[in-house]
């Protein structure tokens, strides 16, 4: 298969398949979780569960005091690659065109050179995070195959995007096709791996904050 054929497949049937798997998978996992429900709490509330929930939803993006010092790499690496990933995904002009074609919405892009730098920094952060996972006792102990699969699924779109942008490794068309395919792989793997936290983190943060908020604790 040639680069253009690969690209045409990726932009056509590949995207359709990936999107369907992504939507079906995410819907199943989210709904099967949601329907489990939560029993009512009869204990008299001291504070507001909803306020606590909303609060934690946002504040949990910040590390617990002292945590930065205890595990700097997990936090900094985590921040850099999450923020970097979303900036490159959401603010690179061609990506906005894709999102506009899919959603109908568009917004201003960041300059390409800035995206380039952010992408490279994100790649470096992901590499650091992987090395840490492989070498740190706790991370290595906890890791399962799925963790490495999820890492690769996050890493590949950034790497192929960087290669395509700089015309590295192979011709642009093929690299662009690989980039699109890696994005599709990511879409498919979101409902199949821990990448599902993209959606469920909001629910868990909310409950953590709500459970504490009800008791008047700020967490």
């Amino acid at each position: 298969m040639t680069g253009v054929e690969l690209l045409n497949w990726a932009r056509g049937p590949g995207l359709q398949i990936a999107l369907v798997v992504f939507i079906v998978g995410v819907a199943i996992r989210f709904i099967e979780m949601w329907l489990l429900g939560k029993s009512p709490d009869f204990a008299e509330a001291r504070g507001s569960a909803a306020a606590g929930g909303w609060r934690t939803l946002f504040t949990r993006s910040l590390p617990m005091p002292g945590a930065l010092k205890r595990a700097p790499l997990v936090f900094l690496g985590g921040y850099v690659f999450h923020i970097g990933f979303f900036i490159t995904f959401l603010f690179y002009a061609p990506h906005i065109l894709f999102l506009r074609a899919v959603t109908g919405f568009s917004w201003p892009a960041l300059p390409a050179y800035l995206i380039d730098v952010i992408g490279l920094v994100s790649i470096a952060a992901l590499v650091a995070v992987l090395v840490h996972r492989l070498t740190d006792p706790v991370r290595r102990f906890l890791s399962r195959t799925g963790d490495y699969v999820a890492w690769a699924a996050t890493f590949l779109p950034l790497l192929t995007g960087y290669f395509a942008y700089h015309r590295l490794v192979t011709d642009y068309t093929t690299m662009l096709a690989l980039h699109v395919l890696s994005f599709e792989l990511l879409l498919v793997l979101i409902p199949l791996t821990k990448l599902m936290h993209t959606f469920t983190f909001a629910v868990s943060r909310w409950y953590n904050g709500a459970i504490a908020g009800r008791k008047g604790v700020k967490v």
């Binding site: 489990l36 939560k38 709490d41 993006s61 706790v138 906890l142 936290h197 868990s204 604790v217």
Partner: protein
């Protein structure tokens, strides 16, 4: 009918709800929770990573409640949880977790890990996989009335002693009193100073209170071992007594998990709201202070600090009251590093101190508290939980530290205006 693996798995299945499922869905195995847990920070052993302690529950959730897990189960790609595995996890779920909830603060995706440990214990105990110490305590609590085997005559003896000491009449089974006082067995046996202290304070503040001969034990071994059935039975005794005496409040004593059991879990255990309120004794002291009903004189001038009981602050929301009260009677109160909701557990909560097998481990991880105390160089440590107090005394002795542990209520009583 006894306990069995099957009963345990059914127990896990019963416990999975939306929060639990969302927590398992969200975990990215970043391992940050390890850094919040003193069992990891003080030992460096990765098996103490909090989320790892939930593997059996996680596997049951995945196999029973997720499509992909069910497919894997159907294809024979996943193995059921075995009895041997539950036994392997027993020390992780019981010996190395005090239900302190610090990990729940650390988790970046917001998993309330301790919420799940509490639920995991339900399955573990139904499978009969729980420490002997806790089983025995629970048995004593149900059959004798107190986990330490303390019975009514013992309390009556202490009350008589206190009445003699204070010259005040301590009300017993007084219907229509505003407050029902319950105690932890440690307060009846070891730290009985609380009884005259409470009597003096309530007398001075004009609080209408009473003890009940049907329900004087506040601790709840059911919560610690993780059996809602047993916990319900124990909490129902207090609810029944409070309803019979028609009190407006039940005072939770200086005991952390008793507060959780009575204040936060109790209504859910009996399946309805209480017709009375539950108030922690320190909260009550703070209310009396704010109302100007608590008058003290003199100050402790020595440098002292306060140890926050986890169930009181992080899992209970009582953060400011002990500080407000303590500042009335201590001129040189200093905060530990990571005070309030961020506090480090003493290492003996969640039933760990009732579990002999965990003795070595809990004394080892006390090094965290030692470090915190060494930083301050204090000679007096105030707290508001008799279980913490017990553990702190053990730990201080083990580490040969010359620090005196005092209950907050007791300290306030000593400075009551005559």
């Amino acid at each position: 009918m006894g306990t069995s693996l099957e009963r345990g798995i059914q127990g896990f299945i019963e416990q999975v709800d939306r929060p639990t499922a969302s927590f398992f869905e969200s975990c990215v195995r970043c391992g940050m929770c390890a850094h919040a847990c003193l069992f990891y920070t003080e030992t460096g052993d990765p098996k103490y990573t909090p989320i790892y302690k939930l593997e059996p529950l996680r596997r049951v959730w995945e196999r029973e409640y997720t499509l992909f897990g069910r497919i894997k189960k159907w294809l024979g790609l996943s193995k059921p949880v075995t009895e041997a595995e539950l036994k392997e996890w027993e020390p992780l779920v019981y010996d190395s977790c005090t239900l302190c909830g610090r990990c729940s603060l650390m988790c970046p995706v917001g998993n309330d890990i301790v919420y799940m440990v509490r639920r995991a214990r339900e399955g573990m105990v139904a499978a009969g996989v729980a420490p002997d110490g806790l089983k025995q305590a629970a048995t004593r609590a149900v059959k004798i009335g107190s986990p330490m085997g303390v019975q009514l005559p013992a309390l009556k003896t202490q009350i008589a002693k206190a009445e003699k000491e204070t010259g005040l009449a301590i009300p017993f089974d007084k219907e229509g009193a505003e407050y029902l006082m319950v105690l932890s067995s440690a307060e009846i046996i070891e730290f009985s100073e609380i009884i005259p202290a409470a009597a003096r304070i309530f007398h001075a503040a004009g609080v209408s209170w009473t003890f009940s001969s049907d329900a004087f034990e506040a601790t709840n071994s059911g919560i610690q071992i993780g059996s809602s059935d047993i916990a319900t039975e124990l909490v129902s005794r207090i609810v029944r007594a409070a309803e019979r005496l028609k009190v407006k409040y039940v005072i939770s004593p200086e005991c952390g998990h008793a507060y959780t059991a009575l204040r936060w879990e109790g209504p859910n255990l009996i399946g309805r709201p209480y017709p009375f309120k539950v108030i922690h004794i320190v909260e009550l002291l703070d209310e009396l202070r704010a109302a100007g009903r608590l008058k003290t004189e003199g100050m402790e001038d020595e440098k002292l600090t306060f140890h926050d009981p986890c169930q009181l602050v992080r899992r209970g929301g009582v953060v400011e009251p002990p500080r407000n009260v303590l500042k009335m009677v201590a001129s040189n109160f200093v905060e530990m590093e990571d005070p309030g909701t961020l506090n480090w557990c003493c290492g003996g909560g969640g039933g760990v101190s009732s579990n002999e097998r965990a003795d070595e481990l809990r004394l080892k991880v006390f090094s965290r508290k030692k470090t915190q105390l060494d930083q301050l160089g204090v000679r007096t440590l105030v707290t508001a939980c008799s279980n913490c107090r017990d553990m702190l005394e053990d730990g201080l002795e083990h580490h040969r530290m010359d620090i005196k542990v005092v209950g907050l209520t007791e300290m306030v009583a000593e400075h009551l205006k005559q």
